[in-house]
């Protein structure tokens, strides 16, 4: 047995003696009550208080329960009419109500949390203190017929003063009781779900107290007076026994909740779908708003189960601050549970330990998803950078070579048209001009292939129409939308159509092709079909493969149906974030 437990045992012996002694006094002076039940009430408070002190040493609830029991039994001792005992008994019995109110409002942490709570409890203690001072100064036991009280009368003996103070303290209850319930209500409003769950036993306790209070009006310990009154008396005494047990149950509820860890271990024994681990942890902890983040790079980065970056909240951050419990594994952070601050830290760690291997698995999956997202984003950035570069090259060709060649054509034309130019030279200049114009046309076609200006100028439908107009195979275009799409989407869709039409011309031996562009439900659908020989294969050749990669870069899907002899259908779906 530890030293602490020895002290608690010794304290228990003293307290049991105090209760039993008080009951002995009641029996001795003939107080009409069920002494067995009365002793049981006191002993239940003492026992619950001692258990609370043992299990929750830092929690004041145990001390307050014991204080209540000690205070309440001062009343019994005051019946011992010797020396100063009646006065001490009266003073000692005064704060019992304050102790139970304090325990209730501070439940389950044992701490009063707001200034208003401290004010209300302070007021209740204060009223009791005033009564105690009046008793100390004015109580004269001999005026009450205590002939054996071998004790000098109070400095200002006044039976009226004592009775008035006692009466006023009872009337003060009209103020303190509503204030107390207001504090309780405010406490409930500010409580988190987990705190409310802990407070429920308290409400049960209050219901019991209220019932006892109401029964008091009908109750009488006198068996000769009225059977019903006596029954009420017995019943309220029995209900009082349950009060400390309810307090104790709520206080140790987090320990009882550890059985949830066992349920969690069982739940961990089967494969979990994404998100189920969070749900299982939330259920085990009784915190439906629980969130789990996973540490990457030794905690330098955090992600949720889907791999999306997110940082744990800082302490006190947000309107309803959350607690963050970081779970370490193998010397580094594994996960962070963002939970209700009212949850028992030990229970949170126990639950996290039970789910340890699952947390590790989910962290690996989250890491994988984060990497996948990064790869996708990186691929998108690469494609977008490529598109930007294409636009830049096309612009440079336009601003540089094409301009110079056009100017050269004009210079040659002027030279050719000069008076007195040798006809042979004029013919040669004309031939050179023609070659230059051909070069300009080829350069223009090259620039168009790199990035068509019409796509930038007019958007996808117009660019596809222009493409169809230049095609060697007749291409019918059908579009069911107007307006612009984002630059990456327009570029990807355009090159899908351009490459597909190029394939139709080169390989399909088709008589005609058809392009359909439609937009619905946040998706751009691009279909290019022909009536050619079919047999196209994405795995062969870099053209279709490259298209599939470009489409994937904008989170689209790419499919090819090309049965031999049955034509080819290229079908692409691209999510469209916003109109331009």
């Amino acid at each position: 047995m530890t030293r602490r437990r020895c002290w608690l045992t010794a304290l228990g012996v003293v307290l049991v003696a105090w209760i039993v002694g008080a009951e002995w006094v009641s029996i001795h002076v003939g107080v009409p009550e069920n002494h067995f039940i009365d002793a049981a009430v006191g002993l239940s408070f003492v026992l619950a208080g001692l258990v609370a002190l043992d299990r929750r040493p830092g929690n004041a609830t145990g001390v307050l329960m014991i204080a209540y029991a000690v205070s309440a039994y001062f009343g019994n001792w005051s019946n011992l009419n010797i020396a100063a005992v009646p006065m001490i008994g009266m003073i000692g019995a005064q704060p019992s109500g304050a102790f139970i109110a304090h325990a209730a409002l501070a439940y389950p942490t044992g701490r009063l949390r707001t200034r208003f709570e401290r004010f209300v409890i302070g007021l209740i203690y204060g009223v009791n203190a005033v009564v105690c001072v009046v008793i100390l100064l004015a109580f004269d036991p001999r005026a009450d017929g205590c002939t054996r009280c071998a004790w000098e009368p109070a400095p200002f003996p006044s039976r009226t003063a004592v009775l008035t103070s006692l009466s006023l303290s009872q009337r003060a209850a009209f103020l303190t009781v509503p204030l107390f319930f207001l504090a309780v209500w405010l406490r409930w409003r500010r409580s988190t779900p987990a705190e409310r769950r802990d407070l429920i036993p308290l409400w049960i306790g209050f219901a019991v107290v209220g019932l006892v209070y109401l029964m008091d009006g009908f109750a009488s310990p006198d068996t000769t007076a009225d059977q019903f009154s006596y029954l009420m008396w017995e019943l309220q005494s029995v209900l009082q026994i349950s009060l400390p047990l309810i307090f104790l149950w709520g206080l140790l509820a987090t320990r009882l909740a550890r059985s949830a860890v066992g349920d969690l271990v069982v739940a961990m024994d089967r494969p979990l779908l994404p998100g189920e681990l969070r749900a299982a942890l939330a259920k085990a902890l009784g915190d439906p708003l629980l969130r789990v983040l996973y540490a990457l790079d030794d905690g330098d980065h955090w992600v949720d189960a889907d791999g999306r970056p997110e940082s744990p909240p800082r302490p006190g951050e947000g309107r309803r601050a959350k607690a963050v419990t970081v779970i370490d594994r193998a010397g580094g952070p594994l996960a962070a549970l963002i939970h209700d601050p009212a949850l028992d830290a030990g229970l949170v760690r126990a639950v996290a330990a039970a789910a340890g291997i699952r947390l590790e698995n989910e962290r690996l999956q989250a890491d994988l998803r984060a990497q996948l997202d990064e790869v996708r984003a990186s691929r998108q950035r690469i494609v977008e950078a490529g598109d930007r570069e294409r636009r830049r090259v096309e612009r440079n060709l336009h601003d540089g070579a094409q301009q110079r060649l056009a100017t050269l054509v004009l210079s040659l034309a002027m030279l050719r048209d000069r008076d007195g130019v040798d006809p042979a030279l004029a013919a040669s200049i004309e031939a050179t001009t023609s070659d230059l114009k051909q070069a300009i046309a080829e350069l223009r076609e090259l620039a168009r292939g790199i990035h068509p200006a019409i796509l930038t100028e007019e958007g996808l439908p117009a660019a596809v129409e222009a493409l169809a107009d230049r095609s060697a195979v007749p291409v019918q275009v059908r579009t069911d939308f107007e307006g612009r799409l984002s630059e990456p989407v327009e570029a990807v869709a355009y090159f899908v159509v351009a490459e597909s039409i190029a394939n139709v011309i080169k390989y399909a031996q088709a008589r005609a092709a058809r392009v359909e562009l439609s937009r619905r439900d946040g998706v751009l659908l691009v279909e290019v079909s022909d009536d050619g020989v079919g047999g196209a294969d994405v795995s062969h050749g870099s053209g279709l493969r490259g298209l599939a990669d470009r489409v994937a870069a904008v989170r689209g899907t790419f499919g090819v149906q090309s049965p031999p002899g049955g034509g080819t259908l290229v079908r692409v779906e691209i999510p469209v974030p916003a109109e331009r």
């Binding site: 336009h398 601003d399 094409q402 301009q403 110079r404 060649l405 056009a406 100017t407 054509v409 004009l410 210079s411 034309a413 002027m414 048209d417 230059l436 114009k437 300009i440 223009r444 620039a447 168009r448 068509p452 200006a453 019409i454 100028e457 007019e458 117009a462 660019a463 129409e465 222009a466 107009d469 230049r470």
Partner: protein, 121 residues
């Protein structure tokens, strides 16, 4: 009487060659501008018969310059020019309000006359 022409193009070499070519063909080049804002201002100041206007300018697009010039009373005939092909601009040329379009390499007095003789927008 010779038609007066304003050339708006950011390439000085092209402006010089175009000016010489048009002068030989009997046009009077009354002014030049290297960007869209200057082009609008000079067109208002000089009131030329024809504005030869590059589609790609450093500050404004040729289409915007057309809109601004045509918003004033009694606007000149505007002919868009570019080293790109008309097809590269889709329907924008037709919608712009310009009299027509000539690729820079095809610029000549004959091409100019052909466009000017066409229907006004």
């Amino acid at each position: 009487m010779a038609r007066s022409v304003l050339i708006v193009d950011d390439h000085a070499g092209f402006r010089a060659q175009a000016k010489a070519l048009l002068a030989v063909a009997g046009y009077e080049v009354v002014g030049e501008a290297a960007d869209g804002a200057s082009g609008v201002r000079v067109a208002m100041d000089l009131s030329p018969d024809v504005v030869l206007l590059d589609v790609q300018l450093p500050d404004l697009t040729g289409f915007e310059v057309v809109r601004q010039i045509r918003s004033r009373p009694d606007p000149p005939a505007i002919i868009l020019i570019s080293s790109r092909d008309a097809a590269d601009y889709g329907g924008r040329i037709a919608r712009s309000g310009a009299r027509g379009f000539i690729t820079k390499a095809d610029l000549s007095a004959m091409a100019l006359e052909s466009v000017l003789e066409g229907p006004a927008p």
